[in-house]
């Protein structure tokens, strides 16, 4: 190809402007397609990144008691036996769950904490330090939860309805912001014994038992031992939970993939149409250029710029739109497609700007060269024929 000659670029631009309507249509469709693909990729990679961070907050092993295939309260005394397993370095019984505030039809998540015991979630650990400043029943609430309670005229305390019908008054001591952790938007932190009362647990019952294993090599061995010792329990390691959740995202990626294929197919139709040949007008134009004295490589240069201008411009517009949609507006309307409603909620994820460069490159290579090729090839076919033959 001849060296960069800005007149070719100008010619290419003028050429595009001549068939303005058609090219604007191509740009719109192209941008839309890139935007769709990019949105899906951005959300997917952002979700995976968030999940990776979530997994670092999990304990090494979680044990729940299972009856009739459902999790039921586990006896805290098991902890003593579990700690006698050599690989286990620490363990804690945890009490947590959800409570439905019927008047406002709002479900809050309750996390019971015990002072001086290990808390695996660093956010909860930090906030729970403030709990020590009260005596009696008290709790910390998230900003959103506090607003909901205020609507129901609960300002400095709240009445929990216990499973046996009694009312339990719990003071609201402080609120915390959950901007960085949207998955904790409805969280209330309180003392473990208080949480047990609210859930109707007996004195030695807990939701599950979490263990730390010092040597990560030993986790599988410890898991097997626990499963043998206590056959009515479900023992999950961090990697088990990881696999499950990543599996969920990949399942929904199946829908992703479907959309991806459909949009790409549409794009391909456009490209195919372009590649199939130029209209007689376009053919004549190339003939004229050759007659005027343009070499084949000049024609191809101009055609290259034409293709490049449209595809690169559309690509940039598409990526920018997708970026704004996902990271600025947090992808409204897409929740059903991307995440399964009962398990993953898109609004629980802080869609952080975490873009995989490889995905962008993939997107670029899938679209731009294809379009340029589709523009160049028919032009090349025409350009190599003699000028007078073309104009006939």
């Amino acid at each position: 190809m001849s060296s960069f000659n800005r007149y070719f670029l100008e010619y290419a631009f003028a050429y595009l402007m001549r068939y303005r309507r058609k090219n604007i249509f191509i740009v719109i469709v192209f941008s839309l397609l890139v935007m769709l693909l990019a949105t899906l990729f951005f959300i997917s990679s952002s979700l995976e990144y968030s999940l990776e961070k979530k997994f670092t907050r999990l304990p090494d092993i979680i044990i729940t008691k299972q009856l009739a295939g459902r999790a039921v309260p586990i006896d805290e005394k098991l902890l003593s036996t579990l700690l006698s397993i050599d690989g286990v370095s620490d363990g804690v019984s945890r009490v947590y769950g959800s409570y439905l505030f019927q008047k406002e039809n709002y479900t809050m998540h309750i996390e019971g904490v015990s002072p001086f015991e290990v808390i695996y979630d660093p956010f909860v650990e930090k906030e729970s330090q403030k709990l020590t400043e009260c005596d009696g029943a008290c709790m910390l609430v998230s900003s959103e939860l506090q607003n909901v309670l205020r609507r129901a005229a609960f300002e400095s305390y709240f009445h929990f309805v216990l499973p046996d019908g009694r009312l339990l008054k719990v003071a609201i001591v402080k609120r915390f912001a959950t901007k960085r952790r949207p998955d904790l938007h409805n969280l209330a932190i309180m003392d473990k014994e208080l949480a047990k009362e609210i859930f109707g647990y007996r004195e030695n019952e807990a939701t599950d038992i979490a263990l730390s294993v010092a040597n990560k090599n030993e986790i599988e061995t410890v898991k097997r031992k626990i499963a043998l010792m206590f056959p009515n329990t479900e023992v999950l390691s961090r990697s088990d939970i990881k696999k499950e959740e990543l599996g969920l995202i990949n399942y929904n990626s199946g829908i992703f993939l479907l959309l991806f294929i459909i949009t790409f197919f549409t794009f391909f139709v456009i490209v195919y149409d372009k590649a199939n040949g130029l209209s007689s007008e376009e053919k004549r134009e190339i003939g004229i250029l050759k007659a005027v004295g343009w070499k084949i490589e000049d024609v191809l240069s101009a055609k290259f710029y034409e293709g490049f201008l449209i595809s690169f411009f559309s690509f940039t517009v598409g990526i920018t739109l997708a970026f704004v949609y996902v990271f600025v507006f947090k992808a409204p309307f897409l929740e059903g497609v991307v995440a399964h409603e009962t398990t993953l909620h898109l609004r629980d994820f802080l869609l952080e700007v975490h873009i995989d460069f490889m995905t962008l490159l993939l997107l670029f290579l899938l679209t731009v060269p294809l379009y340029i090729a589709a523009t160049l090839i028919p032009a090349w076919k025409i350009a190599v024929i003699d000028a007078d033959e073309v104009m006939r």
Binding site: L83, D86, F116, E218, T221
Partner: protein
Amino acid sequence: MKRSSFFLFFFALFFSVLPLGATEYSHDYIVKKIYPMGEKIFKTKCPDVDVTAFDSYVALQTYIDTKSSCKKLAKRYREAVGLYLWGSQRVKKHNGPMPSLTVTHTQKCPVCGMFLYKYPRWVSMIEYKDEKRFYFDGMKDLMKYYFEHPQSIEGIYTRDYYTQKVINAKNAYFVIGSDVYGPMGDEFIPLQTKKEAERFLLDHRGKKILRFDAIDIKTLQALDE
């Protein structure tokens, strides 16, 4: 000097067992849960209590319950602080701190040349009397080096397999022939106590438990086959 501190250790250990009998907790529960909890409470609520000023557990516990800044806490928290200070901190103060087996990104094992930062669980160290320290990626390589340079040793340290805490290798138990492989293949797996070693032998199909002095060049060579 070494002998008397050895005896002192056992002495302290004996006395540390006494309070254990007073409660219904198992030894594991105490070491794994009560000591860390007691340490947390001690550091945040009453760090001024000096365990060396007391010559009996009962005197220490009474002081904690009545005069220290922890006296307002619930009974089990005060108990935890007392147990921690008497059973753990006191013993540690006698023995002195263990060296930390942390390595930089560039350090290599002198025997095999592998980068040590990749295998933090396996790093072992020999310290010589001239304060030179050599770090290895496993006890096997350490023993190879040890047999070449056995003089003027200040201490040999490695990590207990289960707890990952730094232990004195000379007092440790080693299991060979297990299904746990280190970065150099078959390894001497270090355990701090005989009970741990026996448990490991069963769980991981080990062949033999050896003490440090029982390891000779033949055993070392047998591992490499």
